[in-house]
Symmetry: D2
Amino acid sequence: MTAPRQFRLTLACPDRLGIAAAVAQCIVDHGGWVQEAHNHAETDDPHFFMRVAIEHASLAPRLDDFQRAFEALAARFAMRWSLADSARPKRIVLMVSKQAHCLYDLLGRMQAGELPGQIVAVISNHPDLRGLVEWHGLPFHHVPVTPDTKPAAFAEVERLHAAYGAELIVLARYMQVLPPALCARQAGRILNIHHSFLPSFVGARPYHQAHARGVKLIGATCHYVTADLDEGPIVEQDVIRIDHADRIEDLVRTGQDVEKAVLARGLRFHLEDRVIVHGHRTVVFR
Amino acid sequence: MTAPRQFRLTLACPDRLGIAAAVAQCIVDHGGWVQEAHNHAETDDPHFFMRVAIEHASLAPRLDDFQRAFEALAARFAMRWSLADSARPKRIVLMVSKQAHCLYDLLGRMQAGELPGQIVAVISNHPDLRGLVEWHGLPFHHVPVTPDTKPAAFAEVERLHAAYGAELIVLARYMQVLPPALCARQAGRILNIHHSFLPSFVGARPYHQAHARGVKLIGATCHYVTADLDEGPIVEQDVIRIDHADRIEDLVRTGQDVEKAVLARGLRFHLEDRVIVHGHRTVVFR
Amino acid sequence: MTAPRQFRLTLACPDRLGIAAAVAQCIVDHGGWVQEAHNHAETDDPHFFMRVAIEHASLAPRLDDFQRAFEALAARFAMRWSLADSARPKRIVLMVSKQAHCLYDLLGRMQAGELPGQIVAVISNHPDLRGLVEWHGLPFHHVPVTPDTKPAAFAEVERLHAAYGAELIVLARYMQVLPPALCARQAGRILNIHHSFLPSFVGARPYHQAHARGVKLIGATCHYVTADLDEGPIVEQDVIRIDHADRIEDLVRTGQDVEKAVLARGLRFHLEDRVIVHGHRTVVFR
Amino acid sequence: MTAPRQFRLTLACPDRLGIAAAVAQCIVDHGGWVQEAHNHAETDDPHFFMRVAIEHASLAPRLDDFQRAFEALAARFAMRWSLADSARPKRIVLMVSKQAHCLYDLLGRMQAGELPGQIVAVISNHPDLRGLVEWHGLPFHHVPVTPDTKPAAFAEVERLHAAYGAELIVLARYMQVLPPALCARQAGRILNIHHSFLPSFVGARPYHQAHARGVKLIGATCHYVTADLDEGPIVEQDVIRIDHADRIEDLVRTGQDVEKAVLARGLRFHLEDRVIVHGHRTVVFR
């Protein structure tokens, strides 16, 4: 029971007449069989977004021709675009600290063969999770971070990232702030899970803040990392009900269930090429 | 703050290469500006489904040409299709009995100008809700139904339906079973709200059944009516949490909140041409 | 199918040994039959909270004795407490402006006999909703509010509140800020519905803020009104999923469904004596 | 950040006057400090249910006296009752087959120290998950089940259960039907996770059934196992939204997220002594 192999074409461009038709025609001209497609147009600041899933076997024979033709079309419409092959999973570097709930969740999905991406390495600022990671056959890199070593540590992170040919960094409850320059270089390619329903409770200890405020729901937010902490484009969010009897440690525990679920969904959207960043916001073709 | 005027093209046909491109090209050939589009392909029994929202002003000048051209295209691909103008709301006959929660909800939406359809009349087998309906400026028809008068009563319902030029019947907690012949004649044009999460608790007194079974969630289902009671294609469902302290009358009350929300959403999907029936199932382009 | 008549005893006091036992014994000593009870103890700042539902018929014959005995017990434990009779619904003044979705929802519940309180009057700063209110047999008072007339207007509101013997003010999307003195005098007796998931998007135009931030869920908050706008103790909250295709007007419409549901639930909790305010937070015995 | 140590007293008995008071008085007479308490009375078939959380240190010095006194009280009211110490976690035997999502989830909670019970062994009818289980330091027993060996296999299961002194069996997607005699001997002490929102889609392949019926939500149910398959008392349920584009394998994957969440919650309720079975239904003091 595996998903059918597909090409996933995603694009964004200023809106004008005929984009969808030109794209669809270019696909069919090269034999491509469309299985799923979504368009969206923003009207305030007119932009057009599209995701097309094309049966792999139909387009593969003339793929080079298609890419050349599409290149020209993309230039004409000033598109940002990408074409991904579902059988070539994106390479992921996971970053963790001590909390393991998101790591367990993602390793479980990996073992079940359901993660539509490939974890190539795990980096942590603590050694605690080495055993679990290595049992799963993955390399584990302990890169401690202290105020003094921070620049060197993140240079090492970027070296590892490059060495593994990674295309995505996932901060799975990684408790260090990334340097702005790294965020900028990897814009749209670093996913974080924040343990609050943003923009509520930005910053440290959101569950303590939530308890103090007496909210009746707590949540989690999966977002792309930018230099502005907790301000990056949001990919996915969810919440869960709590009540007055929940102490802060209950919020932490309950919230972890939302965190891992939201990260798994947001990550899936990214890996399946369902997310297009548009300024401060995201288009997510679910 | 009203939604922009659109044409909504929906279609279903056996799947084959090039449908999306042909449709998109036909739209752009007649000046149509696509604002939102979704395709879906079923692979088991290969069928293709599409919904396109086209800016009204872009297509309106050459609408007749477009329709002629599309007629030919539709014939070529053996499509079922429709083209709806968002500024011409569908005409709805509401049918109710004594319970008013769905009626209140829909009248409130009508008054707020948010219902993307036009209620043209309300028919009831009880006189109780006449005052509320007439206060809202709508005609109210009391058509009692007894075992003896049932054929005559539903003949009158169909006469009223025709007289009002209605395109949709909404059973907003109408407590009579419609004759199979009427269901067949209006297939895909009668929406019902059932007070359970189907297929759980079919038939009578679902909240009593739910209480007896000790479920922890109760739900509601909006579906098209077919001759097989509670078996029609499902458009929308939702649930709400209950607990052991809820008596049957609490389930009834709590459930009504789900019923009205689910009916309102399902009805909106239908009125915005988001639903395509495919055998026993529905495609809903949300 | 009506709920059984009950006395509802609620209390809060500094925590110490034996409160629950003393309360339970006092009830049984006077023949009271407990149907539902909840205790909760806060451990940081040790406080004890309790709600007991007592069958009416069992306690009614010796009610005066019970109240005298409980008065002494309450003094001993320094309790805030109340004893309410479910057959004597609390008297409610509704305040509205132009938006009617919450009003429709509450009037529908009133007509269905499911509101566990009695709406005694509706006050609005606009005349628009007079017809709907008066059709339901309720008095409607148009009290315009301008910067100049604000003190006089709210003096009139308080005069009406007193004249109707109201015990609760419900701001059902009332778009004026209440004077701090009124908030203080009616602390814990004014419920508001705010159209965001607080503490996100405080202040004006939360749906515009939500759209700009690109959140994936929007929500609503029912809270007691205090002089600090949007900072009062939260009674109930909920959220609903949105996506990139939702324009601001879609958020407004979708959000209204959450607003009316959250207000109805929060109001029910209050009317059924399920809420105890404790500083900035609430205990809600659901 | 651990929960405070508590005694948890739970009881069920025919309802009559004075139960709550007698229980509370017995607790306070022995120094017990009540932190959280819930009563519930069923009125149709009058039964009384109660859960009290008592601070451990307050009751521990006179525990034996308390138990003797409570024994007498329980006899007087014909109570089923239990007294559990939160610091003595219940001993759990997990049973699994090949699917690991629930196992990963529970092992992750165990590692995080958040599981309020102790997994003492894992039994499986397949050898696949041995490595993962043993890496976590738990014994793994492969007990194959074929039609011929079924009686012997389940005799071995019961032998292991006894040898480990287990108090609960958790079927974490164990794909064999337990013998009725085992179900009867362990009534109320075997939890199962069923991969549908019962009573929808009983029996085999519920996701296939859900897909065929075209439902818009799928769910999972945690219930006690009885000899009537899928008919045991329900402890917890939840659902998740799907749509027309989800193939059966998408339902399986999406559903697994609900299964593990629902099992974890239902298991927690059991381990924290929050569940009282009452005939076909459960009282769950959340």
